[in-house]
Point group: C2
Chain length 340, copies 2
């Protein structure tokens, strides 16, 4: 019997425990509304390194070390590590993971990477290939601005549609058996391209992909938006959140007050000058690994749908006048094992 | 019962059929010794596009279309597409896949990507999550040189240790049931860094990772190198091939005349001025999808171990004086379902 339901969703036969999480962030995230939920807040955005890229790798390395420590597991118990980030050739992840000496699978879905990682990790466990999988994703504001937009030293003015790449690393250890919360389903996104070309409006570029994946998730599972205590897209910010709400209405689904976006949650729009909100692989990774995971542990939230969203452009593709395709993966996380 | 054997290997309960493959290459590969095995040879390295990057995406798009056509399957039958490449943010893959409108999982292992893709694809099928998975990888000589080394227009002299990035795309459709050959096991590599810093000597940077994965594969499965008709690393070329042979002897394994490297097979060293040999994601992807797959279909080869190898550096990491870590994934492909 195929464990795939509908066109895009996998409903896990034996939902996968999220044994523990760890979150590390930079100074700006440490001044935001979710500050108290993060394990480590670096006051120095360089994290003591001499480049932004090395700072990102060091955060990845240390945060993977932290989640391993929190789990109480021996390193050798981890069957596979899945990791990805925004840096060219995933160096944030590969240099962060190399000292672990564990079987490694590199993944990329731009800022949807954290969703892809915990989804594929659940597949490895539910499929009988692993007992424990460690998965994470990172981004770094300065490294991302340098790579995707303008040298920071230029002091380029950011338009109001732009979002602020989150500096941080979020990680989770998934387990075959363990306490709640559980990953109960994984809806794999298609690449959706509606022709947006503005690299300073990622929310608009990714929103149609989020809508496509949300719609597929609801169709495949027979659920409605109000099934969940909270539905969180990854990093659409205020601009993309509004587009999703409107487009979902056209699709026949009402996204109520239980719909938010990690990019909205992580910064204080008024005080932090972050315009449309937070973005980057770390946006959904640390919002989940810090805030949402703890809310689920306390029972404040019992059923969430995390939908990390990614914009699949590169500086080269933008220079070559390509449009910006998006992708989004939806992961249902629940305190009970669901309908299974 | 865990389907993982030893530290790093998955032995598939029900080996996965490689239903069909397709291979598309550029002009230089079309002048090499494997020319007659490729489905499509482009005489124009631009593939009719106005940039090298678009040429790579177009090859990916067309070659995925070709493998789908060869399979006789309806597009909607494909449960998931896995794809990756060397371009920043995987644009070779994402722009190649976007028109397919199929659930997409982006993967990255530098030039080991094809191995990661067919390995993860087999996991999706053997785990019961998919009936059909399409997987592929690409690279483009000009796009890779521009991105990783020097502008081609400079005419920089290439050292003898350097390899020639293969222009092409290789793709396979994996199926739950179907004819031989079958993917029987998948050994997931660790990141191995022996401190090599020369971005013109990828063979030396990746060889220790290949040795680590080969050793793990033989330990985990209880097999010896002579079990296979052919063992092929991905793109170590002559330099890396020699290092692997020597290091494997130190590990207690004799790599005999059945050990070659896709980078050695794909070009004629004497006539084609390719120095250490071929490299790039497409090197193992097209050598397998073209040459090896047909040799297996004819029964000329019945048991092969394909070990695509990747160098996990970026231009930024090289500029920042980082070493070059490597990774290699081993995929056993056999005409019988093996010991299972």
């Amino acid at each position: 019997m195929l464990k795939k339901t509908g066109d895009q969703s996998i409903v896990f036969e034996d939902p996968v425990s999220i044994l523990c999480t760890a979150s590390t962030v930079g100074p700006k995230e440490g001044e935001g509304p979710l500050a108290s939920y993060f394990d480590v807040v670096h006051e120095d955005i360089m994290v003591g390194e001499d480049s932004w890229e090395k700072a990102e790798s060091t955060m990845a390395k240390d945060n993977f070390g932290l989640v391993l420590h929190k789990s109480g597991l021996n390193k050798k118990s981890i069957d596979f590590v899945l990791s990805g980030d925004l840096s060219n050739q995933l160096t944030g992840s590969t240099f962060g993971v190399r000292d672990l000496e564990l079987p490694f699978l590199g993944i990329f879905g731009a800022c949807s990477t954290f969703g892809e990682g915990i989804g594929l990790g659940s597949i490895l466990i539910d499929g009988g290939f692993a007992h424990y999988v460690m998965s994470g994703a990172s981004s770094h504001f300065c490294a991302a601005e340098k790579q995707f937009r303008f040298p920071l030293e230029l002091g380029t003015q950011r338009p109001l549609t732009s979002s602020w790449t989150v500096t941080g690393h979020g990680a989770a250890i998934l387990a075959k058996s363990g306490p709640a919360p559980y990953i109960t389903s994984f809806t794999v996104g298609k690449i959706i391209d509606m022709g947006i070309t503005d690299a300073n409006n990622m929310g608009a570029a990714m929103a149609p992909a989020a809508v496509d994946t949300l719609t597929a998730h609801f169709k495949d599972t027979g659920r409605n938006p109000d099934y969940y205590d909270m539905i969180l897209t990854g990093d659409l910010g205020y601009v993309g959140h509004e587009i999703v709400s409107r487009m979902m209405t056209q699709e026949g689904y009402t996204m109520g007050s239980n719909y938010s976006d990690c990019g909205i949650e992580i910064f204080d729009r008024e005080k932090q000058d972050t315009h449309s909100g937070g973005s980057g692989c770390a946006c959904s990774a640390v919002t989940f690994s810090g805030y949402l995971y703890q809310q689920m542990k306390k029972g404040q939230l019992n059923k969430i749908l995390l939908v990390p969203t990614g914009a699949l452009m590169s500086p080269t593709s933008v220079q070559q006048n390509e449009t910006i395709p998006g992708v989004a993966h939806a992961v249902a996380i629940e305190n009970t094992k669901g309908d299974n």
